[in-house]
């Protein structure tokens, strides 16, 4: 077999592998989409696979979600939106300022140790925090509030943001900032008018990653909230246990509503997100 033929065989095998894995990833998503259009009858006897052929799709689950029970669904949805956006914004401002400071100032030669100190938090299992958080927020009277989740999620996102953004700011040329300061700008102006715009790709990546992290978080939300401040993942599991796992179509519709925004954002910003996700390991 010649080299060209060998290469062609390898390419074909590669596409087969990629196609197979894509299918594995696609099938559950396909399933949840068609299930959200199914009726009870389509799920009572045997599995049905193809809309219009196996079963007649209907919109009742979507009507249930967006018309009949909209208010009931809207509360956790708004909780998730508010908690995710506010906590990520707070974490972005505080974390990237610290990242900038660690890139531009000298803290007695201990800059690397400070960054490592931030990162050590990632070693700790979440289980270590939930008990203390439960007691802390109970004493503060903040149980079942969005504020409690915002505080926890921003503090959880800060170390990662500091770590990534410090590296990002270090890669930016310092001369522009220097000349701006000679022209009379102060550090705050330099950070927000010069450094941050230049670091926009990094900021977008860490912001979206914290957004997704907060949007999907479950364990802390389960520990700290139970009625007023529940987020979508918690709302979903509550529905599942209330309905005894049988209203598949409604659950599918809720799943899709909760998944589509973050998956769309993540995939649209693929380049930055992959960079942010693989950043740590590529550096270490």
């Amino acid at each position: 077999m010649g080299l060209a033929a060998q290469k062609r065989v390898r390419t074909i095998i590669s596409y087969c592998i990629l196609g197979f894995w894509s299918f594995i990833l696609l099938f559950p998503m396909y399933w949840v989409v068609i299930t959200s259009f199914k009726n009870a009858i389509d799920m009572s006897i045997k599995a049905t696979y193809m809309p219009f052929i196996d079963f007649q799709p209907g919109l009742h689950a979507w009507r249930y979600l967006f018309v009949d029970r909209l208010t009931w669904f809207l509360d956790p949805f708004m909780n998730s939106v508010l908690v995710a956006f506010i906590s990520s914004t707070v974490a972005l401002v505080i974390g990237s300022s610290a990242g900038y400071a660690l890139a531009r100032f000298d803290y007695g030669g201990r800059n690397n140790s400070i960054v490592l100190g931030f990162m050590s938090q990632r070693m700790f299992p979440g289980a270590l925090f939930i008990l203390a958080f439960l007691v802390m927020f109970r004493e503060l009277g903040l149980l079942d509030t969005r504020l409690a989740l915002i505080i926890v999620y921003s503090s959880g996102a800060i170390p990662f943001i500091v770590w990534v953004m410090r590296d990002f700011f270090e890669g930016l040329p310092v001369e522009i900032e220097e000349s701006a300061m000679i022209d009379g700008a102060n550090r705050l102006g330099v950070l927000f008018r010069i450094a941050m715009p230049l670091a926009a790709p990094g900021l977008v990546a860490v912001f979206v990653l914290s957004l997704i992290g907060a949007w999907n978080e479950y364990l802390v939300a389960l520990t700290l909230t139970f009625r007023e401040a529940i987020t979508i993942p918690l709302f979903m599991t509550m529905q599942v246990s209330q309905t005894g796992y049988t209203e598949w179509w409604n659950m599918s519709a809720i799943s899709l509503v909760s998944v589509i925004p973050v998956v769309a954002a993540g995939m649209a910003l693929e380049k930055y997100i992959t960079g942010g996700l693989t950043f740590g390991a590529l550096k270490g």
Partner: protein
């Protein structure tokens, strides 16, 4: 820069004082938040692990130090060892599977040019989905025993339906499948990044020198992607040790205690049961295991790679 102070000496001076202030204004909020919200819980949990603290008795003055009693209780507790065993089994099931899938798919992805970006974007999808939703969709719906598609397909090929959620063994397999579905993508993207760092001409040169495809892979590609692979593996191992959400949604730790992980046990005893002291000792046990394991792993891999 050097000429500046001579022209405006006083202004320059003021400017530096102000800049010195910004140095602290930028850093202190982040440090303060991390100290309060990360260090305090870690220390508080350590304290709790040595007391008889209970959620429903907080504020009483009779919280006492019990020394190592919680840890003694832990080590002699069969239920705890059961959850520890489950966690290790889970980790040993998912991490190798993710490594194999990750390497296979990453090699395939590195081998093609057309459509690479498309596949890469699509493979990112599972990482964006919450574990709760993944466990619901992949676990509860696909592995549903009566009308789920997996059993349905098995039956149409003449097999028996598998009792995915009612058999202890199969429930663990289903949980592993969920984790593999979600996190193989992480290995794929990491290993792809590693593979793209291998200079192609190195590979070519080895082929020209008479090495076959396999030899070139083992001698050139593998050593070069080893550092990233090892880091990716460590991240996945630590995450697998912390598994909890997918179990809560799919099995709740059942049947019996067959799929309960350490973190789920901590939640059950500490948050649900209110036994903060015993929960804290379990959390610290997990932390100590992770630190010893992580430390040993880093030490051994660094040494092994240093010797190569």
């Amino acid at each position: 820069m050097a000429t500046e102070p001579q022209i405006y000496p006083s202004k320059r001076f003021r400017f530096e004082i102000k800049d010195n202030l910004w140095k602290w204004i930028f850093l202190v909020p982040a440090v303060a938040i991390i100290l309060i919200l990360l260090a305090v819980p870690v220390l508080w949990t350590l304290y709790a692990a040595f007391t008889d603290l209970h959620l429903y008795r907080i504020g009483d003055f009779d919280t006492k130090f019990v020394g190592l009693a919680n840890f003694e209780k832990l080590l002699s507790n069969r239920s705890f060892w059961r959850t520890a065993r489950n966690t290790v089994v889970f980790m040993l099931g998912v991490v190798p599977a993710q490594l194999i899938i990750g390497l296979t798919v990453a090699l395939a992805l590195n081998n093609i040019t057309r459509g690479q970006k498309l596949f890469r974007t699509w493979f990112l999808m599972p990482l964006m989905v919450s574990p709760v939703v993944v466990s619901f969709i992949v676990g509860r719906m696909l592995f549903q025993e009566d009308i789920g598609p997996i059993n349905d397909i098995l039956r149409s090929f003449g097999f028996e339906g598998v009792p995915w959620l009612t058999s202890p063994t199969w429930a663990m397999v289903a949980l592993m499948a969920i984790d593999v579905w979600q996190w193989s993508s992480f290995m794929i993207l990491m290993l792809l990044a590693a593979l793209q760092g291998v200079p192609p001409d190195l590979h070519e040169a080895a082929r020209v020198d008479g090495a076959n495809q396999l030899q070139a892979f083992w001698r050139i590609t593998v050593p070069l992607i080893m550092p990233i692979t090892m880091t990716a593996l460590l991240i996945r191992i630590i995450d697998a040790f912390k598994v909890v959400e997918i179990i809560m949604v799919l099995t709740g730790g059942g049947p019996g205690q067959a799929t309960e992980s350490v973190t789920l046990a901590i939640y059950r005893t500490g948050v649900k049961g209110g036994d903060l002291a015993f929960g804290s000792s379990q959390a610290y046990f997990l932390l100590i295991v992770l630190m010893i394991f992580g430390g040993a792993y880093l030490f051994l891999t660094r040494r092994a790679m240093g010797k190569d």
